[in-house]
Symmetry: C2
């Protein structure tokens, strides 16, 4: 069969190779169906460690794995590198790279992006952290800030260059802020001879009355204490009202800062808007208890894009990696049962989120963890955090390399990947005026 | 002292943080002079392993080291992240980032770039490999070629996407060609289900009658044999007459290929042309035996930018890493002696190149080496090559990580960094027509 416009046909089409999408495919790898996994990148990212790429502790390849590699032994899983432009639920097809892909089952696991609460003009000034390319851009920005400060003669400008503002006190914001201080204090303080990097200000702004509000108040308080011990200025009940290239306004207070990072709003991937179905306030798809879209039993949403209430707690399922993985497993199971055993859609079981606990790190050797109601803090929590995160990395190679990198970073304060790559133009125009210690002219 | 346009003043100004520039600074770190090291990047690259970044075996951070880190204990060495726009030998100043830097001594170690023999329009179609950003771009191109081929339905187009042409049979060309075949045969062959990556053609074109012409003919012959064993098509006496997006012309023969890489011409950094002094045919600066520029005893050229005849062999000193390092050491010694002991310029000793031997790898476990006239080939040579290269990496961290990466790459055929990063648009428009193995419609 040859047609002028070949159409790819998949039994199961999965959009997004994040934690949810990967789990769906893993659950279907031994089932006799064609699965197409579409992602705009050729790799799966271990998002919980993305902030370590942004802060130069790890290299991108340490936490990103070629998707094809993961499924290389499973010939029924086809990896497609493409941007999904549109999903047509009526015609049961997806438009990707100007081409149509038909499906029997569709799993939308396109995740989330940052949201600037309607202030999209803040985007270029306050980059967020969702992708490897975001992380490389933030890394470039952090490292350039120090380079520029080193050569800045004007006191006020230098201070602004050495001021880092992180908007949003969730796990990403806390981890980013902690690492930013750690870099300034431990890792690069000896590398710059004209500035004292330890004077770098890191300001963490949160709109709530405590950081990490999804955690128990006791753990939030401990995290705040640990952050302050590191030298992070924690600004609570603070609402950002303006961002420009030289600073931010929090309420009426202006802070001069050349480096603003956005870890506040999360909104669903824009593709959800092309579905024509009911979305929640954050743009996520409201799904049935089995994770299918109402009226479309063969279309599921999994991961951060799904808005679903846990039937046991009556709480919304949080946008966390473990929840995404569990949703992926759940969807794969439903599809498997219907295909292999002919289970009918009306007999599907609802998705139940199993909360294994949550964790967040503060700087390099501290963390907080809440595991089945048990609360851990400090170094013990950090050890647990490290073990869990290494354990979930995809390959043995990454496990080993990430651990080794941490040994170097934490024990020898030698961070791994302090490279400014990609396009950049250093705004270093004024060099310091250095009076020679000794005249040395060979022609004299 | 504040002036409207502050001027940075250095006793010794070094341009370029390659092998030569780094050695100059290392030789001056305990001398009481201000040294300014200017580079457009914040890192020093271990160039001999750059091809391994381009072929996804290593991450950029494995072979690139922050310059500041190298000199963090030496407060007399100032690292300046800047582009050098112009060198004014008469006024004794350098213009970098629109700012002037004065000097007593100047060391120009700006290295080389690729030259397209006057065919600069070939640049975008046939990228060369000199920087980390080049390596990332080439990596992107190689990985995208396979992604596109996997989804290409037209036989001829698919063949063109799976054809890699490397122009230039020097060490870089040979290493790149060998690695390209290795990837196709060993590392990714299982990852693509619709194409047989082992059918990928790698064509190495050289204008001479043998590859690696700087080596002994016996070693060239062995390298050619090893390349052919790997499946590389070696095309000797071949002159590229045309390159476009879809292929190259070698003499009158056209080869359809979507991936052409340039490892042929090397030309001096363009900054040399602003000097107004005598250059050789490749644009390198003809220097005195002491490496200073004729008529400018306080200005030295070191590394690939210097055109100098070895007084012992009457041969030009080759553009190799060991030669660059030795030149750096030599220049540092002269400056040190004149500053510390008041040795006068007329008593300078000439630079002598000490040839420790040369090596090149072919694929993953073979190499050739010529060490003091002793010739080594095959696995033994490769072991020597590995040891020498790991030994010269700047930090213990890199030594360990590079070795571990090699273990994974060579023993488990799992290359480290197969990421497509940066801006790209996959030209994947036509998906394969996959007939579903089993119909599976839940609504049926």
């Amino acid at each position: 069969m040859t047609s002028a416009r070949p159409i790819y046909r998949a039994n199961v089409l999965v959009i997004g190779a994040g934690f949810a999408g990967i789990r769906v495919c893993q659950g279907l790898r031994h089932v006799g169906v064609n699965v197409a996994l579409v992602d705009r990148n050729n790799y799966h990212v271990f998002q919980p460690l993305l902030y370590q790429v942004a802060t130069a502790a790890l290299s991108p390849a340490d936490i990103a794995f070629p998707i094809r590699r993961i499924f290389r032994r499973h010939k029924n899983i086809e990896c497609v590198l493409a941007n999904v432009d549109k999903i047509d639920l009526v015609r049961k097809c997806v438009c990707a790279n100007e081409q149509e892909i038909d499906f029997d089952y569709l799993v939308i696991a396109a995740g989330a992006t940052h949201s600037y609460f309607g202030q999209d003009q803040w985007g270029p000034m306050a980059p967020g952290l969702k992708t490897i390319d975001d992380a490389i851009a933030i890394r470039r920005r952090i490292l350039l800030a120090y380079e520029e400060a080193e050569n800045e003669m004007d006191e006020e400008s230098r201070k602004a260059k050495l001021t880092f503002v992180v908007v949003g006190g969730g796990p990403t914001g806390v981890e980013l802020a902690g690492s930013l201080r750690q870099i300034a204090v431990e890792e690069i303080s000896k590398d710059y001879h004209n500035i004292d990097t330890k004077t770098a200000r890191v300001i963490l702004i949160d709109a709530n009355e405590r950081v990490l509000k999804s955690f128990h108040p006791k753990l939030s308080a401990r995290a705040e204490k640990d952050l302050k011990k590191l030298g992070v200025e924690v600004l609570l009940n603070g609402r950002v009202t303006h961002i420009d290239e030289n600073g931010v306004k929090i309420g009426d207070m202006r802070v001069e800062a050349n480096n603003v990072f956005w870890a506040a709003g999360v909104s669903a991937a824009p593709i959800a808007r092309t579905l024509g179905v009911e979305l929640d306030r954050a743009g996520r798809v409201k799904v049935n208890p089995d994770l299918s879209i109402p009226g479309h039993p063969n279309v599921f949403v999994a991961g951060d894009l799904a808005s679903v209430i846990d039937p046991r707690t009556n709480e919304p399922v949080p946008g966390l990696a473990p929840a995404a993985m569990q949703m992926g497993v759940h969807v794969a199971k439903i599809i498997r049962q219907e295909i292999q055993s002919g289970v009918r859609p009306e007999h599907r079981i609802p998705f139940k989120y199993f909360d294994k606990g949550t964790m967040a790190t503060i700087g390099t050797t501290r963390a907080i963890a809440d595991i089945w109601g048990w609360k851990f803090t400090g170094f013990i929590a950090w050890l647990m955090w490290s073990l869990v995160h290494v354990m979930f990395l995809v390959s043995f190679r990454s496990k080993l390399l990430v651990m080794l990198n941490w040994v170097f970073t934490y024990m020898f304060h030698s961070s791994g990947a302090r490279l400014i790559t990609g396009e950049f133009k250093p705004r270093i125009r004024r060099f310091r005026d250095v009076t020679p210690r000794q005249s040395a002219d060979p022609a004299a």
